[in-house]
Symmetry: C2
Subunit: 192 residues, 2 copies
């Protein structure tokens, strides 16, 4: 069983630019990847590959076309993920397991037969993947986790990391002075 992690270095996390400088965004993206890899290493998944090339769809579809074993496609910006989540995702009883992300996204996708699947991360990828699986006659399990759904795209997402995070990405944010503030009962982030 393997995992593939698509990781974009160029302009990584550009929607965090209101809060973090370019070098901070690069560091933060690397720390998040580190947290995901640590969770994978402590899970039942026995090997992983980080894909850095090309577009998301091309990179993943190029890889899974050739893979003959069950494979987990997992996003690199999930700093709240734990080994337990990965073990649960890969042991679900279905041909395809989808862990939804916020806004119709797909944060993790487990494929029993990756070479029979193609990913489509454009627009509401959750709905795309549901449709692709059903068209191929594959059974689907929707993996329901708040912590796996919480990817880090926009400043408000960092609220969750500051509140719930214990890994290296959360530590990095705190180191560079990102903290919570409260406005009208709602938590936001600010930076010193």
């Amino acid at each position: 069983m393997k995992a593939i992690i698509p990781f974009k270095k160029k302009n990584a996390k550009s929607r965090l630019s209101p809060l973090l400088s370019q070098s901070e965004r690069v560091m933060f993206a690397e720390r998040m990847l580190e947290d995901v890899i640590r969770a994978l290493k402590d899970s039942v998944v026995d090997k992983y590959e980080v894909l850095t090339e090309g577009s998301l769809n091309e990179a993943i579809n190029g890889a899974i076309r050739r893979i003959q074993e069950p494979t987990l496609v997992i996003m690199p910006d999930l700093p709240l993920i734990q080994p337990r989540h990965i073990n649960e995702i890969v042991s679900a009883d279905a041909d395809v397991v989808i862990a939804p992300g916020k806004g119709g996204g797909t944060n993790a996708l487990f494929l029993q037969e990756p070479h029979r699947f193609r990913v489509d991360f454009r627009l509401a990828s959750f709905l795309n993947h549901l449709g692709i699986a059903r068209d191929a006659g594959m059974s689907v399990y929707i993996y329901d986790s708040f912590f796996v759904s919480t990817d880090m795209d926009e400043p408000e997402d960092l609220v969750e990391l500051l509140i719930h995070g214990k890994g290296t990405a959360a530590m990095y944010l705190r180191e560079i002075g990102v903290t919570l503030e409260f406005d009208q009962g709602r938590a936001h982030v600010k930076k010193k």
Copy 2:
């Protein structure tokens, strides 16, 4: 085992006013409450009470002070909740079960001994409830669900309901012409 649902009628869901009129917000809030009550009715919880009085903290603390049986405090704006979630929350092996909401919130709180607890929904209530439980020497289980974490406060939250929702609140949104649109790869909502 009982459930209490605090439900505010006045100015309900005011942060949805960029998208929904006042009467639509009232209707939408009532449909969400209906979805939550339906999930409760199909769960192991055998009775529920809707609290409409006063402030959130006062209403809930006034109620739980007098309750001598295990009690679930559950928010009324969780239209993606299913009976399975409720059954899992109330069967977790801990004195206190907290289902986090976005932004440091608490969307469901199960108390084995409600009269020994007091809620505090100000600011990051998740952290408050964690602290209150620990100060009282109560064990805590964090219930991890994307669908339970997804409350409906702001227009962007409706994206999740349109994508994942199957209940009466999702149906109502579709009836009044709320649909998804895509901008730079991210899903938003618009209204005809």
